[in-house]
Symmetry: C2
Subunit: 379 residues, 2 copies
């Protein structure tokens, strides 16, 4: 039995839950990839009982991709057979058992845990009405928010690979005249070679850098403009998420230099506060205060929060750095979580600067996994 499954079964027992079901079609539930370590296109059902070998039901076309030392694999040809096989597994669950499913009751608040679709939820739970279905939220949180040693090692590698490819391959080839899209394709190619693309790379040149989630376009990279690249490597499922802001040309303008300095100092202000147990909000306030000191009103120029949990998803389960609200209060940062630190300033129709690094939250503070330069690099 794999260590991952053992850990999950221990968490199930700790939470007094008898099993966890992941069912998905078209790969929309990341936990399928987390458990099977690849995507499956066929409808696939996974049931992890608190003890024993977990069950995987998938199509005959993909069944041979499941590790059958870890899972008991059952395969179907047609979808009727899938439903029958699922029913058999569900009916074998003792009456009254508590089975976790990736759903929430009525809510917009817990979107990260609200995965299974409405019609499938009904059809699945009706296969055995004598089971007590509970939201998997607490179990998923415990599995994903605190990273294992192995996962932390993978995050270190994912961040290092991302830094290396940028310095060694991408920076030397950036030239005015390339389109944002060409450069994004190159960045993703290099990420892919090193494990995988964590998310669609953002390449934003000039005024496009004022749009935090700009999609790489046909716009050409031009001299005397900023160039923002937000990208990440996925290594053994663990992601990095890093943003550089460059200057194309020789002499960055005063306003860009000043904004870069402010963002770098805001990042340092964040790091001076980050520590397990500290409220994310305290870190967020420090960043906003730093922007104010530089004369940039964060309500106008800072369009997002300072950081999010990072893991098998770019916006992972865990606690990030943001201002609390009554319905989403700020929480103390978790030991051994991975978070991003990514302050930015956005000047509409002009330019933007964002610097994003990843770190491990520790008892003492943090361990930085990447280090964007303190001074703007001219290319």
């Amino acid at each position: 039995m794999s260590e991952k499954i053992k850990r999950i079964q221990n968490i199930l027992k700790k939470h007094n839950v008898d099993g966890w079901i992941v069912f998905c079609h078209h790969s929309y539930d990341i936990h399928l990839k987390y458990l099977l370590e690849k995507w499956f296109a066929s409808s696939t059902f996974i049931l992890i009982h608190k003890e024993g070998k977990p069950i995987v039901i998938t199509s005959q076309m993909e069944a041979m991709m499941v590790d059958n030392e870890t899972f008991e694999v059952k395969k179907y040809k047609k979808s009727e057979e899938l439903v029958k096989l699922m029913e058999d597994e569900m009916m074998a669950v003792p009456k009254g058992s508590k089975i976790a499913l990736n759903f929430v009751e009525e809510s917009f608040k817990h979107l990260n845990f609200d995965i299974i679709s409405a019609g499938t939820f009904k059809a699945l739970t009706n296969l055995n009405k004598e089971i007590q279905y509970i939201p998997a939220k607490d179990i998923i949180f415990e599995i994903r928010a605190n990273k294992t040693k192995k996962e932390i090692e993978n995050h270190k590698i994912a961040a290092r690979l991302a830094e290396e490819l940028m310095e060694e391959i991408i920076e030397p080839i950036i030239k005015p005249g390339m389109t944002e899209k060409e450069l994004a394709a190159l960045v993703e190619f290099e990420c892919n070679k090193r494990g995988g693309v964590a998310f669609e790379a953002i390449v934003a040149s000039g005024a496009n850098a004022a749009i935090p989630h700009h999609k790489a376009s046909e716009k050409k990279i031009e001299n005397n403009q900023v160039l923002l690249i937000d990208y990440g490597v996925s290594y053994n499922l663990s992601q990095s998420d890093i943003t550089h802001t460059y200057w194309i040309g020789k002499n960055p303008s005063e306003e860009v230099l000043r904004a870069y300095e402010a963002v770098d100092q805001a990042k340092e202000a964040a790091y001076s506060k980050i520590k397990a147990g500290v409220l994310g909000e305290e870190v967020e306030i420090a960043v906003r205060k730093k922007f104010e000191e530089y004369g940039y009103d964060p309500e106008i120029y800072y369009l997002h929060s300072t950081g999010h949990a990072l893991g098998i998803e770019t916006h992972d389960i865990g606690y990030g750095i943001y201002r609390g609200t009554p319905t989403r209060p700020s929480k103390p940062l978790l030991e051994n979580s991975i978070i991003t630190v990514e302050p930015g300033l956005y000047f509409e129709s002009k330019f933007g600067v964002r610097l994003e690094d990843d770190c491990i939250v520790t008892k003492e503070g943090s361990i930085r996994l990447s280090n964007t330069p303190k001074e703007i690099v001219c290319l």
Copy 2:
């Protein structure tokens, strides 16, 4: 108002529906990308009334990416504001209106339409209980199954670009010693440069080619083995999906030559039947019969169906080529739909051959958008 929106509003009127809501978070609903032509990471709500400018509610961080000539854009900073803005829109819908939502009642059968998650469905529909919520299935079907002229043009280009990149760039650089993963990264890079990657490329060498959905691995490409590449370009949202099977080396073995010929002839058998109005099943049976003629029992060596609809998703809405079952009967192929034709033979632990092309289904038969070679290419 864009042509796309006008077309959707006409479909709404035809179906006697007052509006269509797409709500999603973390980009899981493809219709968000279809409507806004990019992915949004923030929770985003789209309401298309049967008349007038559609509404988009998204975060201030992404609101500037919405085309505000086509959509009325409302932005939120915090999630409470999102819920309030959605509530305002929902409450403005007249009592008793019929609003389509991307859900199905209890079912495993219509997974393509069963998109909105269980908790969100409840929270969203509770914002205004005096609306009649209906599954958007028929509307989505009509929007997506029959392609517009523009979409057909995009599919032609997506297929041509995929063919060109394979012949001009990839085939010349394939060498024994490269890993499957390296080659997959190169293929995706070339797809990306031409528009986008339709799906994670399958690169399967030797015995891995016997696994239809194999994930590119660290295995090296070797001489005297087959090499299967399944890939596609996404061009203006329209996808291609093509599979080549090559021989690495000079003299393909007899068994590979024979399997290749059988697969090619099975493909021709499919094309001889494909025509708008013909049951997909008739085509499927012709393919299976051809395999039998060659002495390959399709129940053992043919692990999937012959073709699926292609569009903004790789497995798109529409009718493909498969054997009907009582719960999923075969349907007549639709005029102006795009489908794949992809017979294959899989010999466990030895090798596999799949040839996949795309075509337009027409009144007269089909128009082929790609043409994998009739004889195996040696590299």
